[in-house]
Symmetry: C2
Subunit: 310 residues, 2 copies
């Protein structure tokens, strides 16, 4: 790359609070805004993905890019960026932030039909925004070490028939209500059931139970999490059985251990559910091993794609 285009690209680390990309343009994250009239906001007509950067490298970048494209296709969104464009753009926003540990989000949303066109999303173009900001923990490291205190929400998860949870989305009304329930109950977070009483997921994470040495995660109402996939990979390394199948509430309550997984937190043990204490109020042995191994493997460069900071 010659000097002039390098200059056009902006300096490495020039926006340490975070860098963003909005429909073709780079800017500090504080300047990244969307029109209040666009349907991405006004109809939550948007899908997104989040990839982590840890010690200068993306984690499972290909998996996130593939899922993001799958989500866009399911919503019939065709932004102008190819997967290669998106990959280069993500490198660029992390480069512009200079961050070695970053939370990197990419959204694809519909704008709005042009004036005079029928009031149908078919007529609205889709565009991409993204940002890289300093790493965000869903739960602080202190909470993770202590163990998360969760509750079972009264609010049921939006059913997959209405909004597909495998297309990562911002339909968080149920999850937000559950977070208020948690705050009222003095819990750190909430786990949601579907209308039939089966475990689904929580606000921003997949849920697992450990039972008789097997690690089990729900087959319904949940995102196909990439950290969930990593947990199962680690189970394989440990020779632990893992399953994706229905988890009724009774089985959740009787589990040996409960753990959560998300990009913005890795593997997070739960030690209390509705005040019931698990494992003597300490992270259970399987959860603790998985968490420890997860970060050890990350430090080894597991599924890592070094960010191009040049």
């Amino acid at each position: 790359m010659d000097a002039s285009s390098a200059e056009k690209r902006g300096r490495v680390g020039q926006w340490p609070d975070g860098a963003a990309y909005v429909d073709g343009n780079y800017m500090p994250v504080g300047d990244a805004r969307i029109p209040i009239t666009d349907w991405g906001y006004r109809r939550s007509d948007v899908t997104y993905d989040v990839v982590g950067v840890w010690d200068g490298a993306f984690f499972r970048l290909d998996d996130h890019l593939a899922r993001f494209r799958r989500s866009m296709t399911r919503l019939r969104m065709q932004p102008r960026e190819s997967d290669a464009d998106i990959r280069a753009m993500l490198h660029e926003i992390v480069r512009l932030s200079g961050l070695r540990r970053a939370y990197v989000a990419m959204d694809c949303m519909r704008a709005r039909p042009p004036r005079g066109a029928p009031y149908n999303p078919v007529h609205a173009r889709a565009y991409i925004v993204a940002f890289a900001v300093p790493w965000v923990w869903l739960f602080s490291e202190e909470l993770q070490a202590r163990g998360i205190h969760a509750m079972v929400a009264n609010t049921p998860r939006i059913p997959p028939e209405s909004v597909d949870p495998t297309v990562k989305n911002f339909h968080w009304g149920d999850l937000t209500r559950a977070l208020f329930e948690a705050a009222d109950a003095g819990a750190d977070t909430a786990l949601l059931l579907d209308a039939d009483g089966f475990l689904t997921e929580g606000p921003g994470f997949n849920v697992f139970i450990v039972r008789d040495g097997a690690v089990i995660s729900p087959d319904r109402g949940a995102l196909e999490g990439i950290t969930r996939k990593s947990v199962f990979d680690l189970c394989d390394e440990f020779g632990l059985r893992h399953e994706i199948r229905p988890v009724p509430l009774a089985e959740l309550r009787e589990a040996d251990e409960i753990l959560l997984a998300t990009t913005a937190g890795g593997v997070m043990p739960v030690t209390r559910l509705d005040g019931r204490i698990f494992g003597n109020d300490r992270p259970g042995p399987v959860s603790a091993r998985l968490r420890e191994r997860f970060w050890a493997r990350r430090a080894e460069g597991w599924h890592a794609t070094p960010v191009d900071y040049t």
Copy 2:
């Protein structure tokens, strides 16, 4: 008001494409943007309302303001603006646009928890944005005169237990999917059922059936529409019976007439459902009378609050 504050307020009609208010500041609607990191967008943690301005007057402004406040309270949002502030602000954006016929939207959304605070909406402040733009028809006047062609969507409405439809919200994933179904089927719009097969609402409107001279609208899964209320008021004027009760799909299909109601369209007759022709492909007599009377009453200043353009 003295000259200097009048100047500070901006000129009448200075932004004819639309005027907006974002968290305390007035601007052209094209400049009205929200941070891509705010939860109003990122978690669809937002409620809204829409009031129409027709021939220089708001329609049922008090009803819209009361519903907006009720929605904010249910979501535990406490923006800094009082109802009097919101009322004055709405007058101001219409005044700045100079529009005599306008679509006026007001949103209240949560920002995001401050850095370091727990990841819970309890810790995020709420703020208000609003805009007034030239009047928008949900369906063109030509379509309304011809009659709307609707279909019954395969996608079920998000259940009230997960997201309360009486708190006007942007959880439109199901409605958006239904609009794609409609586009694929060559229909103008779609009507959604709940999981038990009862009629709820459509993308942006309440639905009614006419049966044996009574006007009936669903009791579940639907917004408590202010235009719906107006339709019932007109029924009273005509001496027509009206009911809010369950409407199973079979009854929808066998209805004498079907009509829709929304702020951005008033009363809109449906003439086809899934290709089945109603009323010889012309708006039915009750629908036509209601539509005609609705606009006649509007022209008389029914529930009108003149905009302060001074």
